[in-house]
Symmetry: C2
Subunit: 377 residues, 2 copies
């Protein structure tokens, strides 16, 4: 059975990346690696739209998030955490793990935060040192307006730290122009390589905070990462086959160009939404992200059974709902190495799955709508 991934990580890996990683292993002190890593660092800056260094960590994206908390805060600092889903909640859990007190802004899952809520919270709670937000909340498919949030945060003496794990390479995110102090992403999303790497950008303001931080860290120390990067290296042996593959993936992104990359994702996401709506289904998110489309499962349909059938019988991997959304949504990701015809397959699978679990579907309805959009735009 062919396996097709529409999961929010891992995402499909281009064959050229897979083949690069299958080459005899190299060593991180050899020129062949050092040259690739230098190129990776240059191309990551382009992707992050920053002049500053982007740091590569051997960990999942969560490791990158933890690094931000452990390196940017002091024990007595207070933070503001936007929690609109599982990944927003993770920022709160990380603060808790380090004993950092935080003010939560809890958003109904599926909604995006209103920047005025952040402004209100910053006004009322004096001395907040960092605002933790989520670019594209993967558990709900909701997109947050990072630019507008940034304009608010900039008016306070406060860092803006963004979980952009699934958003970077999909939605425009101008790290420098929008004053984002730290942004995190992971390898198995828009970057199209297997899981195992996280990436973090840091502003000058963030570096000032690093100098003052008193929370414990070693493996995730930004100071160690900076010292190593100044010599073109990593502080600890990196997942170097992934970095070699990453260079190939970043070259593909460079060849496509950021504008085209964002347009392609917007187009594929819109086609997905059109197909889904044509089937009479509703989206969970009010402001849906182009990363993934979270579809409300119709009344009476078991979302978990739907996801299971697609996976086990058709080889099509959607994600189900997590925590409070379990069984209530299916999430169709369209990140990275995905094209028009992959979207048609996803909609075709959704039609087949819905019928299988007892929902009334006229085959081809969603498919025709998506095809019409894709063929005409």
């Amino acid at each position: 059975m062919k396996i097709r991934l529409y999961t929010p990580g891992p995402t499909p890996v281009p064959p050229d990346v897979l083949l690069e990683m299958a080459k005899p292993i190299t060593h991180h002190r050899l020129p062949v690696f050092e040259k690739s890593f230098a190129n990776v660092n240059k191309l990551l800056k382009t992707l992050f739209q920053t002049q500053k260094d982007v740091f590569t960590l051997t960990s999942s994206g969560t490791g990158g998030m933890e690094a931000c908390v452990a390196n940017l805060l002091r024990r007595e600092d207070r933070a503001l955490v936007v929690r609109g889903g599982k990944f927003g909640e993770r920022w709160g859990e990380l603060c808790e793990a380090y004993g950092v007190k935080f003010v939560p802004i809890d958003i109904e899952w599926g909604k995006s935060v209103d920047p005025r809520q952040i402004e209100d919270a910053l006004k009322v709670n004096k001395g907040i040192r960092a605002v933790f937000t989520t670019h594209s909340e993967t558990s709900t498919g909701a997109l947050n307006d990072i630019r507008a949030i940034g304009e608010v945060v900039r008016r306070y003496d406060c860092l803006h730290v963004v979980d952009a794990i699934t958003g970077i390479g999909v939605h425009d995110l101008k790290i420098d122009a929008w004053g984002i102090d730290a942004a995190v992403t992971g390898s198995q999303k828009g970057l199209m390589i297997p899981p195992g790497l996280a990436f973090v950008s840091l502003s000058d303001r963030a570096w000032e905070a690093v100098g003052k931080s008193d929370l414990p860290k070693y493996y995730f120390s930004f100071e160690k990462a900076r010292k190593a990067l100044s010599k073109g290296q990593n502080p600890f042996t990196p997942a170097l086959t992934l970095i070699m593959g990453l260079e190939i993936a970043l070259k593909l992104i460079e060849a496509e160009g950021l504008d085209n990359l964002f347009k392609r994702h917007a187009r594929l996401a819109e086609a997905t939404r059109i197909g889904v709506r044509a089937l009479g289904l509703r989206l969970l998110a009010d402001h849906p992200s182009n990363v993934l489309t979270a579809v409300r499962v119709p009344e009476g349909v078991d979302g978990q059974a739907l996801v299971r059938y697609l996976r086990n019988d058709l080889g099509i991997l959607f994600a189900g709902g997590q925590d409070r959304l379990k069984g209530k949504i299916v999430r169709i990701s369209h990140i990275g190495y995905i094209d028009d015809f992959d979207i048609l397959v996803a909609i075709a699978g959704l039609e087949r799955g819905l019928k299988q679990v007892g929902h009334d579907v006229k085959f081809g309805t969603g498919l025709a709508a998506a095809q019409d959009y894709l063929g005409s735009n």
Copy 2:
């Protein structure tokens, strides 16, 4: 130019492992991955000679070491750290990063710790909660007697935590039988896969300590790892291509058998030592490890120039000396996917390199001695 790795990580990766990792990426919730991961977990237990679970972390080996400090200690605990090289020192640096006070036992680089030194330190310093040791100290090539150290540590109410990053899969290390409370290894050593994973075994006593620990952790939390493993999963998206490759590597180890594995490494290490000595060179370590052979560079020879020539002109990668040993030793690793003829190439390279940097060498002297040993044993 052909590249040949005799570095203490990365080590050569078998082609079947590389090809496994080049397959279209799978998803960590698919049966194909879950089955592999279950098999990996079973085979890791065999390798670690333990009945307990061995946990897989997506990080370098240092991440696994940090996890031990952060999960096993309380802030007010005191530790004992054996520092006989760069990696012993790392245990101390990790304790410092977490504000844990420790008593160091400093050993001359190249020497092994005498278990009586540990006994003396435990007698004098009451209330030591954990002893941190290094199985094979990669910066010096010295082997420590973990079994004998364990017999001492067992007499105190104290955990024995072992950096076995390069030793596991090379030297016999009986985690359960020798009462080792935590042992760490990394993927790019005896396990023959690329860097990106760390592995940690934990005893029941270690788990008791985990329950009492108050140091901050999230990504490296053993509690989270245990909860996920009870469902056959990882707490965060793992470096799954590496895990798929690991299954192949562990099957190779299983097919060879642990006894044969240790014998092969002992034989290859002995051949290396014989070849080196036949060239009139001396080893750094009194009790040399079978992981790598640290060779003292003869008077008047620039060790860094030797390593550079071998790397740049012959494609043979030895490691040089680190920190205080810079330029004074070369380190020839013989870990993992290495056979008789690889050792001959290493000795041949050493002869060529020595001649190149001005040392008097009769070509074939070391080579003949190594060949004689390998051909006769």
